[in-house]
Amino acid sequence: MNMLGKIFGVDSEEFNQWQLHWWPEDPVLIFTVLGIVIPLALWFFWASLSRVTRWTRKLLLFALRLSAFTILLLIILRPELEFRKTQSLKNFIAVLLDNSKSLSIKTITDKKELSRIDLINNALKSNTSFFESLGKDFNVDYYFFSDEIERVGKEAVINTYRPHRPYTNLTQVFDDLAGHYEGRSLQGVFLFSDGADLTQESGEISRNLEERVKGLRSPIHTLQAGSNVGFKDLAIEAVSASDFGFVQQPMQISLTVFSSSLGNRDIPLVLKEGDRILISKIIEVRADTKRFEVELEFTPNKSGKRIYTLSLPKFVGEFIHTNNKKEFEINVVRDRIRILHLNGRPSWDSRYLREVLAHNPKIDLLSFFILRNLGDDVEAPISELSLIPFPSNLLFDDYLSSFDLIIFQNFKYDPFIDKKYLDNIQKYVHNGGSFLMIGGDLSFQGGGYSRTAIEEILPVSFQDNPSPFVDEAFHPILNENFFRHPIMRLEKDYKLNQDAWQSLPPLQGINKGLLPDKNAHVLAWFSKGEVFPLLVTGNFGKGRTALLATDSTWNWNFRNVGGGSSGRFFQRFWNNIVDWLIAEPETRRLQLESDKDRYRKGQQVLLKVSLVQKNYQPSVGTAVKLILKTINNQGDNKTVYDLKTDKHGEGTFMFLPDEEGFYSAHTQTNLGDETLEEEIMFSVLKDNAEFEKPLVNETLLKKISEISGGRHHILNGSDDLSVLQFSNPSIEVSSHSRSFSLWNNWWAYGLVMGFLVMDWYLRRKSGLS
């Protein structure tokens, strides 16, 4: 090396190795080519000198040609001399420490109760010297892992190691690890874990995980933290429920109940919404079975985002109590609006309204028309008529509550409905149903509703009037004070809405003798000499009612078409009435919304309240009470805040939830003599999924070590990890180098030329061409 260094003028201290490189890197190729070319060249050189008679000249010429050929071969093979400095590197060992929540679960070792993480900590402490010696031969990297890996310093391991991460996903962990050591020599892995990976089925290893383990090409020694011996627990494992459901439509949920070391017991499973029990079921837990599949069916009765809680009783000695309860959220929506539409007789007004309702995809319409009266002579037997008996008992007793809205359109109840069913309608509305009466000569007093339950629920009282219905044309007089009412909104823009109302043709026919109640909202009047309410809304109990004292709004449809316009406003008007009556969320006067449905812990929650008065004008400067409570602690953890609405009738409230879980926000305000309330629910991420399958997965850990060529060891508190060894092949890397070309210089080409010129000169002197 020293001699060579001197020849090429390099410092022998700077480089400790040299190497000759050829252009074709494959030596087989080089020797093959040389093996063919050299004999051919020698034969050619010698044979071409056959006419040279003198031996000395013949040998000289042969030597010249051989020299030129040799140098030419060197030029073609491009030899380079490389001087380099090389050094050895250490291989890597990864120590993976599971920090998911399941590591906090207790385990029994030598009749002592320890947490799983304590077992790992003990093993690390008792093997400190082993890891230190390992660090001399290897680069030992430490990682915390759950569903991702987090590099930690060796010193920080003991101080910062705690079980807090929500999931374990070993497939992702090995994927990340392979990425970390790409191009580096990872010679082995220590995996400290309980194997409680939610993504793996019990007793199996997924194909994905198997591929990741094999792809790592390093032995994985699995150090099992804890065992299932004496593990006592009752858990709700997996709950399967649709993300959304429909009001008044039964929905199914299925779940798995896990039981360990609880013997034979009958255990009640309870499904609650808030503090209201929806359903309970007895689970017959048996000692010889670990998992029990349970199906539950319940019927949501309110729309919105609802939070439900499944709970099992807690038993003394259970290792985990948090998994005895599980909350889940379902967005409950209204399926379709079910409307019962009763018509006293076929008429153009009922025909056009039916068309609007039947064509509304949100509406499930059940229509009945009274097609004949007792005095009518149909001149045909019943069998030749399409008339069906009016099912009053079913409609107004059995299935009344399944309707969202009942419409009496110019309908006289007697003799089709027994008077007692009017009381049922009253109860139905009081409990949250809605009712609409549309005018005509068979409505109100003309329908015999005076002093009945219907008069009580409607926001008017009936005066005795000899001509309660008058066929008279008129333009409705709109109540400016209620012009922002959702029913009146034919156009969103205020001015366009005014124009829309003014463009409508007149109505014809008015039910007179109606006197608005003090709490009634008269949206439009008949005013032609006398003044009578035309369109009135009101509340009765929890329900909403309305009346329209005419049977001629079809004018706004077909007659409007004849005037060159369309039936658009007619359709909008009736859809508005339906939406308001069934209290669609946008028609509620007190509204409460959150900026998100789900929050992560540490995120700020923004709640917005908006309030309008009876006439749907913003309610300014009104005090609104906001009550926040967690679903789990209804009575105890309740906070009340006082808000005041601004000039837009709005108020906002921001807060930082101090605990995870499901929250309900309830607003309440007193406007005059009425109390308005609204409630929404939202969640702040609370993830105890790790406890759904808390068992130690020994099979998984064993399979990982088997597949990778490592060993499996169950930590027991006195563990000697020094028996676990890894191969340590030497690795040398070049830190810097310098190369010299042995062919690309003037003397190589000069020698070739010189030998060839001398060959030519001697051949000329010998008389050869």
Partner: protein
Amino acid sequence: MQKLIPTLGLILVLVIWGQISSPAVAGYSSLTLPQILYQGGNDNPRPDALRSLLAQISRRTSIEVNREPITLKLTDPELFRHPFIYMGGDEEFDPFPEKDLAILRNYLSYGGFLFIDDSSVRAGSAFDASVRKMIAELFPQNPLQKISRNHSIFRSFYLLNTVSGRSIIRPYLEGISIKGRTVLMLSSNDQSGAWSRNKLGHWNYDVIAGGYRQRQLAIRLGINIIMYALTLDYKKDMVHLPIILERLRRYNPK
């Protein structure tokens, strides 16, 4: 709701139609039948027909009617106060002006109903040719089609399985439907001739090749047509179907 439908089939007791309803107020909301006036031909071959039909409707159904029919031109501003119009004839008539066709097209497309009756009692009559020409101009993309026996028109009040009239020229009705609603109906069987009755209560025209039953079926069909225009296809609602289908099965066992 879904449970309600099958349960209805179990109802055994027919509700007794109660006492006579209160005296109705005939007025704007009552049914008026306008007859269309047009140029050329004979637009009123059966002068008593509509009055007779209205009397039958009043007698047999709960529909309140204005007993006297009216006449209207298509250009009459009152046209859109009457969603049902009748057009009769027995002779060739002048083509409708484009303006009238546009009004009629608008009328039918947005909620109106036209019943055309050929009173000529002849197959391929001049009136029939004029009507078909007019309809071809009215809805060039939507030709006349035979009306199926499953149409609500055959069950809107009476259960019918035949098409009747004073003379059965075509044993079917033809019509045009827009967005699922039949807006125009053509009868070639002189329906109005079967309906016509004078003020003394005598039938104006004998039914051809039939008797009392054929006339009754023609009147029933007329009532069904009016009932369809007023209630559309509500008889096809699921709640009505089980009972109607059962009666149809008994009425027409095959």
